[in-house]
């Protein structure tokens, strides 16, 4: 089988691996790079469970080919906690009961992080739009929306 080299930064760490040609970024992350935080929920671009950030942009890793990420900077939910200290989004989800089965959570967090990176004080509508590509089937969206707003608040308090 044809294998090709890919190099990128994953959560700040330089990674260089051989992957099978044509595999998705999702597959490469999960099965070659050992980062299983992005999930395969539909592999059709519909559920958002595989959502990661590539060069600052939100992307669906299930529809992105690993080879097209050469040299990119990739962020996943596995890289958010800083030396064991949860990111405000992670903290707010834990405290606010905003995860049940947890399968949508890593993708949901990356969608919300992209929002907060660009819009530190989002409105409720901003949050709804930001996670509109991510499906949750357990808890409903209200606790998730609330958690993102709570995280934004705790961020701005810190900044203030």
């Amino acid at each position: 089988m044809a294998r090709v080299p890919v190099q990128f930064t994953l959560n700040g760490q330089d990674r260089a691996e051989f992957v099978e040609s044509g595999v998705t970024l999702l597959h490469a992350l999960r099965h070659t790079m050992g980062d299983t935080s992005p999930k395969a929920g539909c592999q059709q671009g519909t559920c958002g469970a595989c959502t990661v950030i590539v060069d600052g942009e939100l992307r669906l890793s299930c529809l992105t080919l690993a080879e097209t990420c050469e040299g990119a900077s990739i962020e996943t939910a596995a890289g958010l906690a800083n030396e064991g200290l949860l990111h405000p989004l992670q903290r707010a989800i834990v405290d606010g009961f905003a995860a049940q089965c947890g399968f949508c959570t890593p993708g949901m967090i990356m969608a919300a992080k992209t929002l907060l990176d660009h819009t530190p004080n989002p409105t409720r509508d901003d949050v709804v739009e930001a996670i509109s590509g991510n499906i949750c089937r357990c808890t409903g969206y209200e606790p998730i929306i609330q958690a993102v707003l709570t995280a934004a608040q705790s961020n701005s308090q810190k900044a203030g």
């Binding site: 395969a40 559920c47 596995a78 995860a99 089965c101 947890g102 959570t105």
Partner: protein, 455 residues
């Protein structure tokens, strides 16, 4: 959150330390950091991928199966057909004596629904398994199919499943489950009004975000570890043991972390064939549904048809209820005989009615087999019952909430299926709901209690 401790306060000590307090779920820190290990988060060297070849027809005889091209395809390691399965006939609830076994793991003579599993292809990559599956040739003789429950019960309907003559489940009570209480015809005769309505529901897919699947590793010594997202670990263990004719101690089931189930992962579908594949190849095997398979192949909630005929008095008393319920099992039983039976006991609802007649049928059609989903056998019944209650209230010009107070069951009432009511709290729930929703009812309803019946 407000906790109303005044209701039933004499029945318990006021020493609740957890209720009303927010507690961190023990699993959430793993969820937010991506560390929670779902079954598919494991990678094993030499992993094989299983792709199922499925029936494109709703109902067909299998004339022949040719796997020779598939076996030659690069990457394909093994192709499984019905003759590889040690005991190729099962039904999940055989464990509690709800038979007969009525479903094959891999079909050999006939397929009875579009999507039924026929041939399993094992290959070194998902892609190779897909390519191999595309090369399997199955010759079908297409048969007439039936999709409507009442059509299926007609004498000349196509026979969906040879184990269920007449296309219905055969209970020990006959072709349907029944409840008989009082004299329903006498009740209708004295009623001021009679209302008969039919309610239909479609199948509903549970749609968990994580699809159904498992990964099996051979551990040596003829033992196997099965990492699975089943919601029913012991159903899976015991049914796999029966299908594979393998003692349970050879099967090590690992699970409990499920990316959403909602009843959709209570069937035993992927594990037996994946364990068999691991046994026959000696390699780890992964069998994970695609999203399309999850939506089209995994069992949904059954379609139901519910005919409710009620007799009601002008003063609001329900005096007679007759219900005929149909549950669409699809082509195989799975959990549907049980679901249909649950409905039988449930159709009076949380109301005390002196004359009740209930018949429920579990019907076989050429649709996707249905099974468990959140309150199956009850949820659709409740929809129908409560819509019916609103219609009855409207019919006699009564407030719908007051109508329910009048008919609410109380402690000590005998239910139609001969279970005495105990611990009823419907009256109190409705009293509180009336206050919170600002939907006032007459004073006498606020004085009612579930624990006694006023003179």
């Amino acid at each position: 959150m407000e906790i109303r401790k005044d209701y039933f306060s004499d029945e318990r000590n006021d020493d609740l330390h957890e209720i009303g307090h927010s507690r961190t779920r023990s699993d959430t820190p793993g969820h937010v950091t991506g560390k929670t290990a779902y079954f598919a988060d494991r990678t094993f060297p030499g992993l094989l991928h299983l792709k199922m070849v499925r029936s494109p027809h709703h109902h067909a005889n299998i004339r022949s199966i040719d796997v020779s091209e598939a076996e030659k395809h690069p990457g394909v390691v093994r192709v499984l057909t019905a003759r590889d399965v040690p005991h190729n006939l099962y039904t999940i609830l055989i464990l509690i004596q709800v038979g007969p076994e009525d479903e094959t793991v891999l079909a050999d003579k006939k397929v009875s629904w579009k999507g039924e599993a026929v041939v399993a292809v094992l290959a070194t990559s998902e892609r190779a398994a897909q390519e191999g599956a595309a090369k399997v040739k199955v010759d079908y003789e297409v048969l007439p199919a039936v999709f409507d429950m009442e059509e299926a019960l007609k004498p000349d309907a196509p026979l969906v499943n040879e184990h269920h003559p007449g296309n219905h489940y055969l209970y020990d009570s006959g072709d349907h489950r029944k409840v008989r209480f009082g004299d329903v015809e006498a009740g209708f005769a004295k009623a001021d009004h009679i209302l008969e309505q039919t309610y239909n529901s479609s199948p509903i897919e549970q749609a968990p975000l994580e699809t159904t699947g498992c990964i099996v590793t051979p551990d040596g010594n003829d033992r196997f570890t099965c990492y699975t997202d089943t919601q029913a670990m012991f159903f899976t263990l015991d049914n796999a043991s029966i299908i594979l004719q393998m003692p349970g101690h050879k099967l090590h089931m690992v699970g409990g972390t499920v990316g959403g189930g909602f009843g959709g992962k209570v069937d035993v579908i992927v594990e037996p064939i994946a364990i068999l594949a691991a046994k026959l190849t000696g390699r780890p095997v992964s069998f994970i549904y695609s999203r399309e398979e999850e939506m089209q192949i995994s069992s949904p909630r059954a379609a139901e048809r519910i005919v409710i005929k009620d007799g009601v008095m002008n003063d609001g008393r329900l005096v007679a209820r007759k219900v005929t319920g149909y549950t669409d099992a699809g082509a195989y039983s799975r959990h549907s005989p049980y679901g249909a039976q649950k409905g039988t006991a449930h159709y009076p609802g949380p109301y005390t009615i002196e004359n009740v007649w209930i018949d429920t049928y579990c019907v076989y059609t050429n649709r996707t087999p249905s099974s468990a989903m959140r309150g199956f056998g009850v949820t659709i019944a409740d929809f129908a019952l409560e819509v019916q209650m609103d219609k009855l209230a409207r019919l006699i010009g009564m407030d719908p909430l007051e109508f329910r107070f009048i008919n609410a069951y109380r402690d000590g009432d005998m239910k139609a299926h001969r279970q005495p009511t105990e611990g009823a709290a419907l009256i109190e729930c409705m009293q509180e709901a009336s206050r919170v929703a600002d939907w006032p009812v007459a004073d006498r309803f606020y004085e009612m209690s579930s624990r006694s019946r006023e003179a």
